[in-house]
Structure formats: C-alpha cells, structure tokens
Symmetry: C2
Subunit: 132 residues, 2 copies
Amino acid sequence: MAQAQALSRNQQIVLNIIEKAKGPLKAYSILFNVQKKGINAPQQIYRALDKLIEMGKIHKIESKNAFVACRSSDCEISKATAFSICESCETVDEISDTKLSKYLSGFNHKKGMKFKRFNLEFFGICKKCKKD
Amino acid sequence: MAQAQALSRNQQIVLNIIEKAKGPLKAYSILFNVQKKGINAPQQIYRALDKLIEMGKIHKIESKNAFVACRSSDCEISKATAFSICESCETVDEISDTKLSKYLSGFNHKKGMKFKRFNLEFFGICKKCKKD
DNA sequence: TAAAAAGTGTTATATTATAACAAACGTTAT
DNA sequence: ATAACGTTTGTTATAATATAACACTTTTTA
C-alpha cells in the first residue's frame, strides 16, 4: 500500500495555513500570510498547492479560485469532490454523502467517455444567512 | 411568461462567436476575435459574458475559465449545469441527462441549506483520445 | 555514492478580471 | 414630446490570478 507521502517544508507551511483557516483561502492571501516564514513568491505557493491537491490534502473551489483543506480522512487522492457554497456569506462546506458520491462515480457519459474525476459545486443561501 | 430578452449589439457579437466555436472560448480569445468589430477592451467582453450567463445563453466552465454556448433549448436560466471534459483534447460537452439533473436538483444539504444552482464538471479521456 | 527526482528561490511575465467615470441609448410615465 | 430612469457603451487604468524559465539544493533510489 502506498505510504502517506511526507510533506516538504513549503508544502507543510501552506497546508497548515489552509487547515487553520475557517474557509477557503486564495493563493495570494496565503502568500501574504507566509512571508514572515521566508516564502516570497507566488510560484512557491502555487507549487505547494499543486502538490497538495495531487495528494488530496486540499481541494480547489473552482468557482472561487480558492483552496480548502480536505476534511474527509479517506480522501487520499481526490477524484470526487462536492461542495456547498453560500452565495451570501461565502461559506464553503465539503459534502461527503456516500450516495451522491456513488451515484456520480458510477455516472458515465453516453458518448462513451469514462470519467475519472468530478467536481460538483452547489450554490444557495445557508441557514444562517436566511434568518437575516 | 417572461419574454425572451433581446440582445444588445455587443452581447449579440459575443454570443455569435461563442456559438460558432467548436469548444469553449476564453474571454481574451473572444476579445481578439472581435477587435475588427470595434470592441477593444476586456470590459466590453466581460460585461457581455455576464449578461449572457444571466440569460442562460452561455455557461462558464469554471475549471477552464472558458465559455460555451448552451445547447439545451430549455435552458432559459441556467441553474443546473453539467459538463464532460476530456483531459487530453480538452473537448467539453454539455451533459443533458434528465435523471442526473433531477437527482441533483433535488439534493439538499444536511445542514439545512437549500440549493438554487449547481455546476458539475466531469473529467476523463474521451473515446477518440483513448484510441491514440 | 553517483544519478535521478523532487523541491527551492528568484525574476519576469502572462492571463484573467474588475474599478471607475463619462457619454449614448432605450424605455416609460407624465 | 420630454424628463427621468435604467441599461449599455467606450475608455483608461489597475487588480488579481497564474505560469515560464533558470540556477541551485535537497532527498531518494539504484
């Protein structure tokens, strides 16, 4: 079985910031937050982000160009991602719903394409925002 | 019933280009293609794109920052979009699958959020590319 | 321990998207 | 018809997001 890959220095720094955050972080906001640690250039952030995504440690929210930590422990390599996004407060939750995930993983295009990966983003107004 | 909205000059120009294209177009590639028509600035493109999206005439492929025409005639306002994307040739197809669409439209988050809209992007290698 | 692979630091630049303002156009209500 | 309003346009400038390219170091593997 593939061993959990060790993180390099920069990867660890970037992951820590994302994990501590309450919501999705943008690449440049991560950059500003790690300049005290000697990381000075966007490249360093983007390289770390790329690897963390490959490892399944984080996900990119495509509609927001932002990054969140993966909360589902079994998500070694992330082939199936689903998020719920509040259009008012911008809160993002990762959805882990076995049924949904199975349904979509089994879905194949009529034109003969077999899917390896999907990303699903739901939008709405969250409970909290609805009250206001 | 809401009348089909008339398109303004720039909106029509931009929509024409997107409809003629074989695949998704990027905003700046649209811009270069319409400079002969007197459109000179990104703003003009992005403004048209925004309106066309609102009207459901086009969709944005978030993972590619690119835009495609909507092929499903009933898609007046696009609340439910699904695409199949080939990671090799970059071909993008809009998926119109009633079952899928119903399944996802009926999906609601456990945390009490009611979704108004979703976007789903599937990735894989298409039939054609598999042969090579 | 040499070779290969992965990671780092850096400068520069490409790509994608929005801000802000003034003028023209289109609709509707009077 | 025309004033008032909203929408669209044109324009300049700039913000935000992301990659290219190169030289060097560290880690892994054979």
